[in-house]
């Protein structure tokens, strides 16, 4: 907690509130997870050993066990799962952007009285429970589901498409579910974009598609970045969508954590997976911020 000493106490207090919130609901639980990740599993309640153990009367010893992390790094299964999660998160984010950008752009450029209804159309499905929406996709994608019946009824395919329980179903579910998280921040940046900049570009000889490439796209990068993070980060740890729509051969960290926690009762290993996932997610952003700052310093 870094409070600036010169500030009036009221302002210190205001800054302290989010810090306190983060510490209480993020840092503290994470420390618990970290603690469990350094212990050993045991058949007891709870199913892990305490770090501090009494060996004799009055003598205590601290036992820290790094073997969970060692296993994660040595066993290719976990790195493969990391790669699987990265792949699903990366491809889903890309598709969310490819679909979400034109949507956000169209809404931001539509007449004022159309914008709110269009945004509502994006948000409204999300007033339904997340699970109901995923189950709806099962109904659409399954072998004798809506999509297959429709395509076969139209004579476009002879035998049903195997989509359910494949990676494609996972991508469909993830992209559908996370699309608003891309559309909304993109809309917010695009609506703030000064349209006279496009006129200025046109005035200087720039054709419409180049105006988009040279002006709109670079200036909407904050929205692209925010949207990507809002999709990429949760999808990295996503469990329910791959579990319901994906096949058993979908190897992702979320499912692996489930197996370690529930099937193996190996809470320490599940915790070290969670800790490792967090580091894997935070590290790129810390590095990005670091390079941004250096680039900024270099330019001034």
């Amino acid at each position: 907690m870094k409070l600036k000493p010169g500030l009036p106490p009221a302002r210190n207090l205001i800054i302290a509130v989010p810090w306190f919130w983060l510490a209480l609901f993020f840092l503290l639980p994470f420390l618990f997870v970290l603690k469990i990740s350094l212990s050993e599993p045991t058949l007891a309640q709870p199913p892990y050993m305490d770090l501090i153990r009494e060996i004799e009367d009055g003598f205590v010893t601290l036992v820290i066990n790094f073997s969970n992390y060692q296993l994660l790094l040595e066993d290719s299964l976990y790195l493969s799962a990391l790669w699987g999660s990265l792949k699903v998160a990366g491809i889903s984010t890309l598709f969310c952007l490819l679909i979400g950008y034109p949507m956000a752009y169209a809404i931001a450029r539509s007449p004022v009285h159309w914008r709110l209804p269009l945004l509502m159309l994006i948000i409204l499905p999300f007033w339904t429970s997340f699970l109901i929406r995923i189950y709806a996709w099962i109904g659409i994608l399954k072998t004798n589901g809506l999509l297959n019946n429709l395509l076969m009824g139209m004579g476009l395919i002879d035998s049903p498409l195997e989509i359910m329980h494949t990676p494609i179903a996972v991508y469909i579910g993830v992209v559908y579910n996370y699309l608003p998280f891309v559309v909304l921040p993109l809309y917010a940046t695009l609506i703030r974009l000064d349209l006279t900049l496009l006129e200025a570009a046109a005035d200087l000889g720039c054709r419409p598609w180049k105006q988009f490439l040279l002006i709109t796209l670079p200036l909407s990068m904050p929205g692209v970045l925010a949207g990507s993070m809002l999709v990429f980060i949760p999808v990295m740890g996503e469990f329910v969508i791959p579990d319901l729509l994906g096949g058993p051969n979908t190897l992702m960290l979320g499912k692996l954590m489930w197996t370690e926690f529930f099937s193996n009762k190996d809470w320490p290993l599940a915790s070290s997976l969670a800790a490792l996932l967090l580091v894997a997610l935070i590290l790129p952003f810390v590095l990005l911020r670091h390079f941004e700052r250096r680039a900024e310093e270099a330019s001034t």
Partner: protein, 379 residues
């Protein structure tokens, strides 16, 4: 209005055989039922510093945007350098625009902003760099080339915007309220720089402004616009001294208006009976007028003098009582009420500091002016 610019070259608008660089023919722009621009025809000539002047909503910006290509006329045609550009998109027009907000690209530094248009036309890199350096020195911001727009002051941004719009050697430079965002002191200084650059480059400038002083100072000619139409197109001095409509007379500076009818005309001397002033007024006017015709005379307050004696027989003499005095520093404005109730205002320079005011409240004064000082408005 003491800094009206002297336009050096021969007045090109007096040479009808020369093709104007901008020819606007019966252009109308309608937004729904609203006529933003209503049947305007206008010629602008090579090398002019042409101002579109008017209050907000008069259509001046819409007209400028039609020149740039951001709006398409509902009807009518626009020619630039003899070419019909009415339906040509902005990125293919030989004009450039300096935006009121400057519209600098926030993600590019100053040099890249200026080079943007050059890059679009595919100019080689080394040539581009030379051109950018040239422009940076033209607007005197060589040291700012690597800065981003958000690191610049308002005045610096204005210079970048100007340099960027000049980069492609446009045939016409359109400027939308070019000084509007600057504070008063910087504005006055920048006015002259803008004029100097325009004269040096010989590019035709078309400026939109709502500031009459700015228009008067810089322009070769001013088109005064009102409700989508042009009230009057004239050089600043003519616009001020001989406004042709009531609106033109009252928009620029202050004016006393006398409604009356023509009594008689001898050569260029016209006698007008003005009932509201209960007086006979004489004015010089070369156009023939029919006796009995209703006219309005426009008299600038600074043309009025205080006379010692009142000669009831002489024209252009009024008596009244000073009711209000406004001290403005260089001059004072006096509001005089005539016996019939009509108000007339006149100004007097404050020649001596702290001197006893020669005129004071409730004083009876005689006002007079020469026949040359008055303008005749027929509309």
């Amino acid at each position: 209005m003491n800094r009206v610019r002297q336009f050096k070259p021969e007045e090109p608008w007096q040479a009808p055989e020369e093709e104007p660089i901008v020819r606007i023919e019966n252009v109308t722009k309608r937004f729904g039922a609203f006529y933003a621009v209503d049947d305007i025809s206008l010629h602008i000539h090579q090398g002019e510093f042409f101002s579109l002047l008017g209050s907000s909503g008069c259509g001046k910006t819409t007209l400028l945007r039609m020149l740039a290509g951001f709006e398409t006329p509902t009807s009518g045609q626009i020619f630039i350098d003899g070419q019909d550009v009415t339906n040509i998109p902005p990125y293919e027009r030989p004009v450039n625009m300096m935006f009121q907000s400057y519209a600098l690209f926030p993600h590019m530094n100053v040099a890249d902003n200026i080079a943007f248009g050059l890059k679009q036309e595919g100019m080689a890199k080394s040539e581009r760099q030379d051109r950018v350096a040239e422009l940076l020195s033209l607007v005197q911001i060589e040291q700012l080339a690597k800065r981003k727009p958000h690191q610049l002051s308002g005045g610096q941004r204005q210079r970048v915007a100007l340099a960027r719009s000049l980069a492609k050697h446009p045939k016409i430079l359109l400027l939308d309220e070019p000084l509007g965002a600057l504070d008063k002191k910087l504005r006055e200084q920048t006015q002259f720089e803008l004029v100097n650059i325009q004269e040096r480059l010989g590019i035709t400038f078309v400026v939109v402004t709502h500031d009459q002083e700015e228009a008067m100072t810089m322009s070769s000619r001013i088109a005064l616009m009102h409700e989508g139409r042009i009230e009057q197109v004239d050089p600043p001095r003519r616009l001020y001294e001989f406004p042709s409509t009531r609106y033109a007379a009252s928009f620029i500076g202050s004016v006393n208006l006398f409604d009356g009818y023509v009594v008689q005309q001898d050569d260029d001397q016209v006698l007008v009976q003005c009932d509201e002033a209960d007086s006979l007024l004489q004015v010089r006017h070369s156009q023939p007028l029919v006796p009995g015709m209703a006219v309005t005379l426009a008299l600038r307050p600074e043309k009025v003098r205080v006379l010692k004696d009142f000669d009831e027989e002489a024209p252009n003499q009024l008596r009244g009582q000073i009711k209000e005095i406004a001290y403005l520093g260089d001059v004072s404005i006096y509001h005089v009420q005539l016996p019939g109730g009509k108000w007339v205002q006149f100004t007097q320079p404050n020649v001596q500091a702290l001197a006893e005011q020669p005129l004071t409240w409730d004083e009876e004064v005689t006002l007079g002016w020469s026949a040359n000082s008055c303008g005749v408005l027929t509309e």
